[in-house]
Protein backbone atom coordinates (compact mmCIF):
# COMPACT_ATOMS: atom_id res chain seq x y z
CA UNK A 1 0.00 0.00 0.00
CA UNK A 2 1.35 3.40 -0.93
CA UNK A 3 0.80 6.90 0.31
CA UNK A 4 -1.53 7.61 -2.57
CA UNK A 5 -3.51 4.72 -4.03
CA UNK A 6 -5.82 4.76 -6.98
CA UNK A 7 -7.82 1.56 -7.29
CA UNK A 8 -9.76 0.59 -10.40
CA UNK A 9 -10.85 4.12 -11.17
CA UNK A 10 -13.10 4.82 -14.11
CA UNK A 11 -14.31 8.21 -15.25
CA UNK A 12 -16.67 8.68 -18.15
CA UNK A 13 -17.80 11.86 -19.83
CA UNK A 14 -20.97 10.83 -21.63
CA UNK A 15 -19.85 8.10 -24.03
CA UNK A 16 -16.18 8.91 -23.70
CA UNK A 17 -14.23 6.85 -21.20
CA UNK A 18 -11.51 9.26 -20.12
CA UNK A 19 -9.99 6.92 -17.54
CA UNK A 20 -10.60 3.18 -17.47
CA UNK A 21 -9.81 0.88 -14.54
CA UNK A 22 -6.79 2.86 -13.59
CA UNK A 23 -4.54 1.67 -10.79
CA UNK A 24 -1.72 3.66 -9.38
CA UNK A 25 0.27 3.42 -6.18
CA UNK A 26 2.78 6.00 -5.01
CA UNK A 27 5.23 4.76 -2.39
CA UNK A 28 6.17 7.46 0.14
CA UNK A 29 9.04 9.60 -1.08
CA UNK A 30 8.95 8.59 -4.74
CA UNK A 31 9.15 10.88 -7.70
CA UNK A 32 6.47 9.35 -9.87
CA UNK A 33 5.90 10.30 -13.48
CA UNK A 34 2.61 10.03 -15.32
CA UNK A 35 2.96 10.37 -19.05
CA UNK A 36 0.98 9.66 -22.16
CA UNK A 37 0.17 11.16 -25.55
CA UNK A 38 -2.20 14.11 -25.86
CA UNK A 39 -5.71 13.23 -24.74
CA UNK A 40 -4.54 10.15 -22.86
CA UNK A 41 -6.36 11.23 -19.68
CA UNK A 42 -3.50 12.58 -17.59
CA UNK A 43 -5.27 15.76 -16.60
CA UNK A 44 -8.42 13.77 -15.82
CA UNK A 45 -6.35 11.64 -13.44
CA UNK A 46 -5.11 14.82 -11.79
CA UNK A 47 -8.62 16.15 -11.47
CA UNK A 48 -9.80 12.86 -9.99
CA UNK A 49 -7.03 12.85 -7.41
CA UNK A 50 -7.59 16.47 -6.38
CA UNK A 51 -11.36 16.08 -6.16
CA UNK A 52 -12.35 18.27 -9.09
CA UNK A 53 -14.04 15.16 -10.55
CA UNK A 54 -15.57 12.22 -8.71
CA UNK A 55 -14.74 8.81 -10.18
CA UNK A 56 -17.66 6.78 -11.56
CA UNK A 57 -16.10 3.64 -10.15
CA UNK A 58 -13.19 2.77 -7.94
CA UNK A 59 -11.58 4.52 -5.05
CA UNK A 60 -8.72 6.87 -4.26
CA UNK A 61 -6.98 6.77 -0.93
CA UNK A 62 -4.52 9.18 0.60
CA UNK A 63 -2.63 7.72 3.52
CA UNK A 64 -5.34 5.08 3.96
CA UNK A 65 -8.24 7.56 3.89
CA UNK A 66 -10.73 7.49 1.06
CA UNK A 67 -10.74 10.89 -0.64
CA UNK A 68 -12.66 10.34 -3.84
CA UNK A 69 -15.92 11.80 -2.53
CA UNK A 70 -14.38 14.81 -0.87
CA UNK A 71 -14.21 18.40 -2.05
CA UNK A 72 -10.89 19.73 -3.35
CA UNK A 73 -10.45 21.90 -0.26
CA UNK A 74 -10.92 18.93 2.09
CA UNK A 75 -8.45 16.88 0.08
CA UNK A 76 -5.97 19.75 0.25
CA UNK A 77 -6.46 19.74 4.01
CA UNK A 78 -5.47 16.06 4.14
CA UNK A 79 -2.11 16.86 2.58
CA UNK A 80 -2.50 17.12 -1.18
CA UNK A 81 -1.26 20.11 -3.06
CA UNK A 82 -0.88 20.88 -6.71
CA UNK A 83 0.25 23.25 -9.39
CA UNK A 84 -1.63 23.93 -12.58
CA UNK A 85 -0.82 23.36 -16.21
CA UNK A 86 -1.95 26.88 -17.11
CA UNK A 87 -0.57 28.86 -14.18
CA UNK A 88 -3.26 29.87 -11.72
CA UNK A 89 -1.75 32.40 -9.38
CA UNK A 90 -3.81 34.97 -7.53
CA UNK A 91 -3.16 37.84 -9.86
CA UNK A 92 -4.18 40.77 -7.71
CA UNK A 93 -2.08 39.56 -4.79
CA UNK A 94 1.61 40.09 -4.30
CA UNK A 95 4.09 37.24 -4.49
CA UNK A 96 4.22 37.12 -0.70
CA UNK A 97 0.44 37.18 -0.31
CA UNK A 98 0.10 34.26 -2.71
CA UNK A 99 2.23 32.15 -0.41
CA UNK A 100 0.54 33.53 2.72
CA UNK A 101 -2.86 32.51 1.37
CA UNK A 102 -1.64 28.94 1.16
CA UNK A 103 -1.10 28.96 4.94
CA UNK A 104 -4.82 29.59 5.20
CA UNK A 105 -5.87 26.14 6.33
CA UNK A 106 -3.24 26.05 9.07
CA UNK A 107 -4.72 29.19 10.61
CA UNK A 108 -5.77 29.26 14.24
CA UNK A 109 -7.31 32.72 14.18
CA UNK A 110 -11.05 32.91 14.63
CA UNK A 111 -13.35 35.36 12.93
CA UNK A 112 -13.42 37.26 16.21
CA UNK A 113 -9.62 37.51 16.24
CA UNK A 114 -9.69 38.81 12.68
CA UNK A 115 -12.35 41.45 13.29
CA UNK A 116 -10.91 42.65 16.61
CA UNK A 117 -7.30 42.31 15.46
CA UNK A 118 -6.29 40.61 18.68
CA UNK A 119 -2.76 39.95 19.83
CA UNK A 120 -3.15 36.28 18.86
CA UNK A 121 -3.97 37.35 15.32
CA UNK A 122 -1.04 39.72 15.06
CA UNK A 123 1.32 37.01 16.32
CA UNK A 124 -0.05 34.52 13.86
CA UNK A 125 0.13 36.97 10.96
CA UNK A 126 3.77 37.64 11.83
CA UNK A 127 4.46 33.91 11.89
CA UNK A 128 2.72 33.41 8.54
CA UNK A 129 4.72 36.25 7.04
CA UNK A 130 7.93 34.74 8.38
CA UNK A 131 7.16 31.23 7.07
CA UNK A 132 6.15 32.59 3.69
CA UNK A 133 9.30 34.66 3.38
CA UNK A 134 11.46 31.66 4.27
CA UNK A 135 9.77 29.64 1.57
CA UNK A 136 10.26 32.41 -0.99
CA UNK A 137 13.97 32.45 -0.16
CA UNK A 138 14.27 28.79 -1.16
CA UNK A 139 12.81 29.66 -4.53
CA UNK A 140 14.86 32.86 -4.92
CA UNK A 141 11.70 34.92 -5.05
CA UNK A 142 12.18 36.86 -1.82
CA UNK A 143 13.59 39.87 -3.62
CA UNK A 144 10.33 40.26 -5.51
CA UNK A 145 8.04 39.49 -2.58
CA UNK A 146 6.07 42.71 -2.79
CA UNK A 147 5.51 42.65 -6.55
CA UNK A 148 2.21 41.57 -7.99
CA UNK A 149 2.33 37.89 -8.90
CA UNK A 150 1.16 38.65 -12.43
CA UNK A 151 4.18 40.90 -13.02
CA UNK A 152 6.68 38.05 -12.58
CA UNK A 153 8.30 36.49 -15.63
CA UNK A 154 6.95 33.14 -16.72
CA UNK A 155 9.58 30.92 -15.15
CA UNK A 156 9.31 32.74 -11.83
CA UNK A 157 5.53 32.32 -11.88
CA UNK A 158 6.04 28.57 -12.24
CA UNK A 159 8.40 28.59 -9.26
CA UNK A 160 5.96 30.67 -7.26
CA UNK A 161 3.22 28.15 -7.95
CA UNK A 162 5.42 25.41 -6.51
CA UNK A 163 6.28 27.59 -3.51
CA UNK A 164 2.60 28.28 -2.92
CA UNK A 165 1.77 24.58 -3.15
CA UNK A 166 4.48 23.79 -0.60
CA UNK A 167 3.16 26.39 1.83
CA UNK A 168 0.20 24.11 2.52
CA UNK A 169 2.61 21.56 4.06
CA UNK A 170 1.57 18.77 1.70
CA UNK A 171 2.43 15.09 1.86
CA UNK A 172 1.84 14.65 -1.84
CA UNK A 173 2.70 17.28 -4.42
CA UNK A 174 1.15 17.08 -7.85
CA UNK A 175 2.93 18.97 -10.60
CA UNK A 176 0.96 19.45 -13.80
CA UNK A 177 3.44 20.07 -16.64
CA UNK A 178 5.82 22.25 -14.65
CA UNK A 179 8.27 22.48 -17.56
CA UNK A 180 5.67 23.63 -20.09
CA UNK A 181 6.97 26.66 -21.94
CA UNK A 182 10.44 26.49 -20.43
CA UNK A 183 13.64 26.53 -22.45
CA UNK A 184 16.17 23.68 -22.02
CA UNK A 185 18.24 25.64 -19.53
CA UNK A 186 15.19 26.43 -17.38
CA UNK A 187 14.06 22.80 -17.58
CA UNK A 188 17.38 21.62 -16.20
CA UNK A 189 17.13 24.08 -13.32
CA UNK A 190 13.58 22.93 -12.71
CA UNK A 191 14.69 19.30 -12.47
CA UNK A 192 17.20 20.20 -9.80
CA UNK A 193 14.60 22.24 -8.00
CA UNK A 194 12.01 19.46 -7.96
CA UNK A 195 14.55 16.97 -6.66
CA UNK A 196 15.82 19.26 -3.92
CA UNK A 197 12.28 20.18 -2.88
CA UNK A 198 11.33 16.52 -2.64
CA UNK A 199 14.33 15.78 -0.41
CA UNK A 200 14.02 18.88 1.70
CA UNK A 201 10.30 18.55 2.42
CA UNK A 202 10.21 14.75 2.28
CA UNK A 203 7.49 14.78 -0.31
CA UNK A 204 5.95 12.29 -2.62
CA UNK A 205 5.75 13.88 -6.04
CA UNK A 206 3.49 13.02 -8.92
CA UNK A 207 4.57 14.66 -12.13
CA UNK A 208 2.67 14.99 -15.37
CA UNK A 209 5.00 16.22 -18.06
CA UNK A 210 5.47 16.23 -21.81
CA UNK A 211 9.13 17.05 -21.72
CA UNK A 212 10.71 13.58 -21.86
CA UNK A 213 14.11 14.85 -20.79
CA UNK A 214 12.60 16.06 -17.54
CA UNK A 215 10.51 12.95 -16.97
CA UNK A 216 13.27 10.50 -17.73
CA UNK A 217 15.79 12.61 -15.84
CA UNK A 218 14.10 12.78 -12.47
CA UNK A 219 11.31 10.23 -12.16
CA UNK A 220 12.01 7.01 -10.35
CA UNK A 221 8.89 5.29 -11.56
CA UNK A 222 6.88 6.09 -14.60
CA UNK A 223 3.38 5.07 -15.56
CA UNK A 224 2.29 5.48 -19.17
CA UNK A 225 -1.37 5.79 -20.03
CA UNK A 226 -3.11 5.94 -23.37
CA UNK A 227 -6.84 6.22 -23.98
CA UNK A 228 -7.35 6.17 -20.22
CA UNK A 229 -5.64 2.84 -19.68
CA UNK A 230 -2.26 1.93 -18.29
CA UNK A 231 0.00 0.59 -20.99
CA UNK A 232 3.28 0.48 -19.13
CA UNK A 233 4.70 0.90 -15.66
CA UNK A 234 8.33 0.78 -14.55
CA UNK A 235 11.65 2.56 -14.30
CA UNK A 236 12.61 5.16 -16.93
CA UNK A 237 14.86 2.62 -18.63
CA UNK A 238 12.10 0.02 -18.88
CA UNK A 239 9.65 2.59 -20.20
CA UNK A 240 12.01 3.79 -22.91
CA UNK A 241 12.41 0.28 -24.24
CA UNK A 242 8.76 -0.72 -23.98
CA UNK A 243 7.39 -1.40 -27.47
CA UNK A 244 3.85 -0.43 -26.51
CA UNK A 245 5.00 2.98 -25.31
CA UNK A 246 6.88 3.55 -28.52
CA UNK A 247 3.80 2.54 -30.45
CA UNK A 248 1.54 4.87 -28.47
CA UNK A 249 3.82 7.82 -29.07
CA UNK A 250 5.02 7.16 -32.58
CA UNK A 251 2.25 4.98 -34.00
CA UNK A 252 2.45 1.32 -35.00
CA UNK A 253 4.84 0.15 -37.64
Amino acid sequence: MGLLDIKDCTKKFGGLVAVRNLNMSLAPGTLYGLIGPNGAGKTTVFNLITGVYTPDQGSIELDGKAIHRKKPSSIARLGMSRTFQNIRLFKSMTVLENVKLARHMKRKQSLFDAVMRTRALKDEERQIEHDATELLKIFHLDARASELASNLPYGAQRRLEIARALATDPKVLLLDEPAAGMNPQESIELMGLIRSVRDRFQLTVLLVEHNMKVVMGICERIQVIDYGETIALGSPKEIQDDPRVIEAYLGGA
Partner: protein
Amino acid sequence: MRKAIFWIAAVLILAGLQTQLVGWIGAYYYKIVILAGINIILAVSLNLINGITGQFSIGHAGFYAIGAYTSASLVHYGESAIRGTVAFLPRFGQDTVLLLLGILVAAIAAGLAGVAVGIPSLRLRGDYLAIVTLGFGEIIRVLILNIDAIGGARGFSDIPPLSNFFFFWVFLFVLMTVGTIHNLVNSSYGRAFISIRDDEIAAEAMGVDTTRFKVLSFVISSMFAGIGGSLFGHYTAYLNPNSFTFVTSFYLIIMIVVGGLGSIGGSILGAILVTVILEAFRSLSEFRLVGFSILLVLVMIYRPQGLMGSRGMFKFKRRAAVAK
Protein backbone atom coordinates in the same frame (compact mmCIF):
# COMPACT_ATOMS: atom_id res chain seq x y z
CA MET B 1 -4.87 49.94 24.76
CA ARG B 2 -4.43 51.93 21.55
CA LYS B 3 -7.75 50.52 20.40
CA ALA B 4 -9.48 51.74 23.57
CA ILE B 5 -7.98 55.21 23.14
CA PHE B 6 -9.08 55.29 19.50
CA TRP B 7 -12.67 54.43 20.35
CA ILE B 8 -12.89 56.83 23.30
CA ALA B 9 -11.50 59.60 21.11
CA ALA B 10 -13.91 58.68 18.34
CA VAL B 11 -16.88 58.77 20.68
CA LEU B 12 -15.84 62.13 22.12
CA ILE B 13 -15.19 63.70 18.73
CA LEU B 14 -18.43 62.39 17.26
CA ALA B 15 -20.40 63.56 20.29
CA GLY B 16 -18.72 66.96 20.10
CA LEU B 17 -19.47 67.27 16.39
CA GLN B 18 -23.03 66.18 17.07
CA THR B 19 -23.65 69.16 19.29
CA GLN B 20 -22.19 71.64 16.81
CA LEU B 21 -22.89 70.24 13.37
CA VAL B 22 -26.45 71.42 12.80
CA GLY B 23 -25.42 74.89 13.94
CA TRP B 24 -22.51 74.94 11.52
CA ILE B 25 -24.06 73.57 8.36
CA GLY B 26 -27.82 73.77 8.88
CA ALA B 27 -30.48 71.09 8.93
CA TYR B 28 -30.44 70.41 5.19
CA TYR B 29 -26.75 69.62 4.90
CA TYR B 30 -26.91 67.75 8.20
CA LYS B 31 -29.42 65.40 6.62
CA ILE B 32 -27.18 64.85 3.61
CA VAL B 33 -24.25 64.05 5.88
CA ILE B 34 -26.33 61.42 7.65
CA LEU B 35 -27.54 59.89 4.39
CA ALA B 36 -23.96 59.80 3.17
CA GLY B 37 -23.00 57.99 6.36
CA ILE B 38 -25.70 55.35 5.86
CA ASN B 39 -24.64 54.97 2.23
CA ILE B 40 -21.05 54.47 3.35
CA ILE B 41 -22.17 51.58 5.57
CA LEU B 42 -24.10 50.06 2.67
CA ALA B 43 -21.40 50.59 0.05
CA VAL B 44 -18.53 49.34 2.20
CA SER B 45 -20.53 46.23 3.08
CA LEU B 46 -21.55 45.60 -0.52
CA ASN B 47 -17.91 46.00 -1.49
CA LEU B 48 -17.04 43.01 0.70
CA ILE B 49 -19.11 40.65 -1.40
CA ASN B 50 -18.84 42.35 -4.82
CA GLY B 51 -15.41 43.87 -4.74
CA ILE B 52 -13.39 41.74 -2.36
CA THR B 53 -14.94 38.30 -2.75
CA GLY B 54 -15.80 38.95 -6.38
CA GLN B 55 -19.38 37.65 -6.30
CA PHE B 56 -21.76 39.85 -8.23
CA SER B 57 -24.72 40.55 -5.96
CA ILE B 58 -27.34 43.11 -6.95
CA GLY B 59 -29.80 42.46 -4.15
CA HIS B 60 -28.26 44.59 -1.43
CA ALA B 61 -31.42 46.69 -1.14
CA GLY B 62 -33.21 43.53 0.00
CA PHE B 63 -31.01 43.16 3.06
CA TYR B 64 -31.18 46.89 3.64
CA ALA B 65 -35.00 46.62 3.62
CA ILE B 66 -35.01 43.63 5.95
CA GLY B 67 -32.89 45.53 8.45
CA ALA B 68 -34.98 48.67 8.21
CA TYR B 69 -38.34 46.93 8.59
CA THR B 70 -37.22 44.45 11.27
CA SER B 71 -35.83 47.15 13.47
CA ALA B 72 -38.78 49.45 12.86
CA SER B 73 -41.35 46.79 13.69
CA LEU B 74 -39.46 45.65 16.78
CA VAL B 75 -39.39 49.15 18.16
CA HIS B 76 -42.91 50.02 16.97
CA TYR B 77 -44.57 46.95 18.46
CA GLY B 78 -42.20 46.23 21.34
CA GLU B 79 -41.55 49.75 22.53
CA SER B 80 -43.63 49.72 25.69
CA ALA B 81 -42.55 46.21 26.68
CA ILE B 82 -38.88 47.04 26.25
CA ARG B 83 -39.22 50.39 28.00
CA GLY B 84 -40.92 48.48 30.85
CA THR B 85 -37.95 46.14 31.30
CA VAL B 86 -35.46 48.99 31.43
CA ALA B 87 -37.72 51.40 33.28
CA PHE B 88 -34.96 52.14 35.79
CA LEU B 89 -33.05 54.01 33.09
CA PRO B 90 -33.75 57.64 32.24
CA ARG B 91 -35.69 58.31 29.05
CA PHE B 92 -32.48 58.92 27.11
CA GLY B 93 -31.02 55.58 28.27
CA GLN B 94 -34.20 53.73 27.32
CA ASP B 95 -34.05 55.24 23.83
CA THR B 96 -30.47 54.12 23.44
CA VAL B 97 -31.32 50.59 24.55
CA LEU B 98 -34.20 50.49 22.05
CA LEU B 99 -32.04 51.81 19.22
CA LEU B 100 -29.18 49.40 19.86
CA LEU B 101 -31.58 46.51 20.26
CA GLY B 102 -33.22 47.45 16.96
CA ILE B 103 -29.84 47.58 15.24
CA LEU B 104 -28.82 44.25 16.73
CA VAL B 105 -32.03 42.52 15.65
CA ALA B 106 -31.78 44.13 12.22
CA ALA B 107 -28.25 42.79 11.79
CA ILE B 108 -29.31 39.31 12.88
CA ALA B 109 -32.38 39.25 10.62
CA ALA B 110 -30.45 40.49 7.61
CA GLY B 111 -27.65 38.04 8.40
CA LEU B 112 -30.08 35.13 8.56
CA ALA B 113 -31.56 36.22 5.25
CA GLY B 114 -28.00 36.27 3.94
CA VAL B 115 -27.53 32.64 5.02
CA ALA B 116 -30.84 31.63 3.47
CA VAL B 117 -30.07 33.29 0.16
CA GLY B 118 -26.36 32.59 0.17
CA ILE B 119 -26.25 28.85 0.71
CA PRO B 120 -28.26 27.87 -2.37
CA SER B 121 -27.35 30.75 -4.65
CA LEU B 122 -23.60 31.11 -4.10
CA ARG B 123 -23.10 27.88 -6.00
CA LEU B 124 -24.05 29.93 -9.01
CA ARG B 125 -21.52 32.05 -10.80
CA GLY B 126 -21.45 35.47 -12.39
CA ASP B 127 -24.63 36.44 -14.18
CA TYR B 128 -26.69 33.69 -12.61
CA LEU B 129 -25.88 34.83 -9.10
CA ALA B 130 -26.68 38.39 -10.14
CA ILE B 131 -30.11 37.31 -11.39
CA VAL B 132 -30.92 35.39 -8.21
CA THR B 133 -29.89 38.25 -5.94
CA LEU B 134 -31.84 40.73 -8.05
CA GLY B 135 -34.86 38.48 -7.73
CA PHE B 136 -34.34 38.19 -4.00
CA GLY B 137 -34.33 41.96 -3.57
CA GLU B 138 -37.58 42.28 -5.49
CA ILE B 139 -39.20 39.42 -3.55
CA ILE B 140 -38.45 41.19 -0.29
CA ARG B 141 -39.92 44.44 -1.60
CA VAL B 142 -43.09 42.73 -2.85
CA LEU B 143 -43.43 40.87 0.45
CA ILE B 144 -43.24 44.13 2.35
CA LEU B 145 -45.80 45.69 0.02
CA ASN B 146 -48.22 42.96 1.00
CA ILE B 147 -47.75 42.86 4.76
CA ASP B 148 -50.28 45.23 6.23
CA ALA B 149 -48.85 45.13 9.74
CA ILE B 150 -45.80 47.06 8.55
CA GLY B 151 -47.70 49.49 6.39
CA GLY B 152 -47.74 47.70 3.07
CA ALA B 153 -47.81 50.09 0.14
CA ARG B 154 -48.79 53.02 2.39
CA GLY B 155 -45.43 52.84 4.04
CA PHE B 156 -44.53 52.28 7.66
CA SER B 157 -45.10 55.46 9.62
CA ASP B 158 -44.85 56.21 13.35
CA ILE B 159 -41.42 54.67 13.75
CA PRO B 160 -40.09 56.06 17.00
CA PRO B 161 -37.00 58.14 16.09
CA LEU B 162 -35.38 57.32 19.46
CA SER B 163 -32.53 59.77 19.21
CA ASN B 164 -31.59 63.26 18.21
CA PHE B 165 -28.08 62.00 18.10
CA PHE B 166 -28.19 60.47 14.67
CA PHE B 167 -24.96 61.88 13.41
CA PHE B 168 -23.23 60.28 16.38
CA TRP B 169 -24.80 56.86 15.93
CA VAL B 170 -24.53 56.69 12.16
CA PHE B 171 -20.87 57.61 12.14
CA LEU B 172 -20.07 55.35 15.07
CA PHE B 173 -21.43 52.50 12.97
CA VAL B 174 -19.59 53.81 9.92
CA LEU B 175 -16.37 53.47 11.91
CA MET B 176 -17.34 49.99 13.07
CA THR B 177 -18.22 48.86 9.56
CA VAL B 178 -15.08 50.22 8.00
CA GLY B 179 -12.96 48.92 10.89
CA THR B 180 -14.47 45.44 10.76
CA ILE B 181 -14.14 45.04 7.03
CA HIS B 182 -10.69 46.59 6.94
CA ASN B 183 -9.45 44.22 9.67
CA LEU B 184 -11.12 41.28 8.01
CA VAL B 185 -9.44 41.99 4.68
CA ASN B 186 -6.05 42.06 6.40
CA SER B 187 -6.34 38.58 7.86
CA SER B 188 -6.41 34.99 6.66
CA TYR B 189 -10.11 35.48 6.03
CA GLY B 190 -9.50 38.44 3.76
CA ARG B 191 -6.86 36.57 1.78
CA ALA B 192 -9.33 33.73 1.35
CA PHE B 193 -11.99 36.15 0.07
CA ILE B 194 -9.59 37.73 -2.39
CA SER B 195 -8.32 34.34 -3.54
CA ILE B 196 -11.89 33.39 -4.44
CA ARG B 197 -12.18 36.54 -6.50
CA ASP B 198 -8.88 35.92 -8.28
CA ASP B 199 -9.17 32.20 -9.00
CA GLU B 200 -11.74 29.97 -7.43
CA ILE B 201 -10.20 26.71 -8.63
CA ALA B 202 -6.77 27.60 -7.27
CA ALA B 203 -8.30 28.81 -4.00
CA GLU B 204 -10.08 25.50 -3.54
CA ALA B 205 -6.87 23.60 -4.34
CA MET B 206 -5.05 25.59 -1.66
CA GLY B 207 -7.58 24.43 0.93
CA VAL B 208 -10.00 27.37 0.92
CA ASP B 209 -13.52 26.04 1.34
CA THR B 210 -14.86 28.42 -1.28
CA THR B 211 -18.58 27.82 -0.69
CA ARG B 212 -18.22 28.42 3.02
CA PHE B 213 -16.22 31.59 2.56
CA LYS B 214 -18.57 32.97 -0.06
CA VAL B 215 -21.48 32.44 2.33
CA LEU B 216 -19.49 34.00 5.17
CA SER B 217 -18.68 37.06 3.11
CA PHE B 218 -22.29 37.32 1.98
CA VAL B 219 -23.61 37.07 5.54
CA ILE B 220 -21.24 39.68 6.95
CA SER B 221 -22.11 41.94 4.07
CA SER B 222 -25.86 41.56 4.62
CA MET B 223 -25.54 42.10 8.38
CA PHE B 224 -24.04 45.52 7.82
CA ALA B 225 -26.71 46.29 5.23
CA GLY B 226 -29.24 45.45 7.97
CA ILE B 227 -27.52 47.87 10.34
CA GLY B 228 -27.67 50.57 7.68
CA GLY B 229 -31.37 49.85 7.19
CA SER B 230 -32.10 50.10 10.90
CA LEU B 231 -30.38 53.48 11.18
CA PHE B 232 -32.19 54.73 8.09
CA GLY B 233 -35.59 53.70 9.44
CA HIS B 234 -35.13 55.38 12.77
CA TYR B 235 -33.65 58.48 11.23
CA THR B 236 -36.45 59.11 8.75
CA ALA B 237 -39.13 57.67 11.09
CA TYR B 238 -40.98 56.54 7.96
CA LEU B 239 -40.28 53.66 5.60
CA ASN B 240 -41.67 53.09 2.14
CA PRO B 241 -41.10 50.00 0.01
CA ASN B 242 -40.18 52.31 -2.86
CA SER B 243 -36.95 53.18 -1.06
CA PHE B 244 -35.82 49.60 -1.56
CA THR B 245 -36.27 48.90 -5.26
CA PHE B 246 -33.52 47.46 -7.41
CA VAL B 247 -32.65 51.04 -8.33
CA THR B 248 -31.32 51.39 -4.78
CA SER B 249 -29.16 48.32 -5.31
CA PHE B 250 -27.87 49.84 -8.53
CA TYR B 251 -26.98 53.12 -6.86
CA LEU B 252 -24.96 51.10 -4.36
CA ILE B 253 -23.21 49.27 -7.16
CA ILE B 254 -22.46 52.58 -8.88
CA MET B 255 -20.88 53.77 -5.62
CA ILE B 256 -18.48 50.87 -5.35
CA VAL B 257 -17.67 50.73 -9.06
CA VAL B 258 -16.96 54.45 -9.30
CA GLY B 259 -14.88 54.28 -6.14
CA GLY B 260 -13.00 51.18 -7.28
CA LEU B 261 -14.15 47.63 -6.72
CA GLY B 262 -12.35 46.05 -3.81
CA SER B 263 -11.11 49.31 -2.31
CA ILE B 264 -12.64 50.30 1.03
CA GLY B 265 -11.53 53.89 0.60
CA GLY B 266 -13.06 53.84 -2.85
CA SER B 267 -16.41 52.68 -1.51
CA ILE B 268 -16.42 55.51 1.03
CA LEU B 269 -15.56 58.05 -1.64
CA GLY B 270 -18.11 56.58 -4.04
CA ALA B 271 -20.84 56.65 -1.41
CA ILE B 272 -20.21 60.31 -0.60
CA LEU B 273 -20.00 61.26 -4.27
CA VAL B 274 -23.20 59.51 -5.30
CA THR B 275 -25.14 60.82 -2.29
CA VAL B 276 -24.07 64.38 -3.03
CA ILE B 277 -24.80 64.09 -6.75
CA LEU B 278 -28.21 62.55 -6.08
CA GLU B 279 -29.08 65.45 -3.79
CA ALA B 280 -27.59 68.17 -5.96
CA PHE B 281 -29.65 67.07 -8.96
CA ARG B 282 -32.78 66.16 -7.06
CA SER B 283 -34.83 68.45 -9.28
CA LEU B 284 -33.98 66.29 -12.30
CA SER B 285 -35.57 63.24 -10.59
CA GLU B 286 -35.44 60.24 -12.96
CA PHE B 287 -33.05 61.97 -15.33
CA ARG B 288 -30.38 61.54 -12.68
CA LEU B 289 -30.05 57.93 -13.80
CA VAL B 290 -29.01 59.18 -17.24
CA GLY B 291 -26.42 61.32 -15.56
CA PHE B 292 -25.09 58.32 -13.68
CA SER B 293 -24.83 56.35 -16.89
CA ILE B 294 -22.67 59.11 -18.31
CA LEU B 295 -20.61 59.21 -15.12
CA LEU B 296 -20.09 55.45 -15.25
CA VAL B 297 -19.09 55.54 -18.91
CA LEU B 298 -16.59 58.31 -18.21
CA VAL B 299 -15.12 56.43 -15.26
CA MET B 300 -14.86 53.26 -17.33
CA ILE B 301 -13.06 55.14 -20.11
CA TYR B 302 -10.68 57.24 -18.07
CA ARG B 303 -10.23 55.19 -14.93
CA PRO B 304 -11.54 51.63 -15.40
CA GLN B 305 -10.17 50.51 -12.05
CA GLY B 306 -12.30 53.12 -10.25
CA LEU B 307 -11.22 56.32 -8.55
CA MET B 308 -9.21 54.57 -5.86
CA GLY B 309 -8.09 51.51 -7.84
CA SER B 310 -8.38 48.17 -6.14
CA ARG B 311 -5.97 48.67 -3.27
CA GLY B 312 -6.85 49.39 0.34
CA MET B 313 -7.44 52.78 1.83
CA PHE B 314 -4.14 53.67 3.44
CA LYS B 315 -1.77 52.16 0.95
CA PHE B 316 -1.20 55.05 -1.39
CA LYS B 317 2.54 54.45 -1.59
CA ARG B 318 2.32 50.81 -2.48
CA ARG B 319 -0.36 51.45 -5.05
CA ALA B 320 1.79 54.06 -6.70
CA ALA B 321 4.64 51.57 -6.93
CA VAL B 322 2.43 48.91 -8.46
CA ALA B 323 0.88 51.27 -10.97
CA LYS B 324 4.37 51.81 -12.51
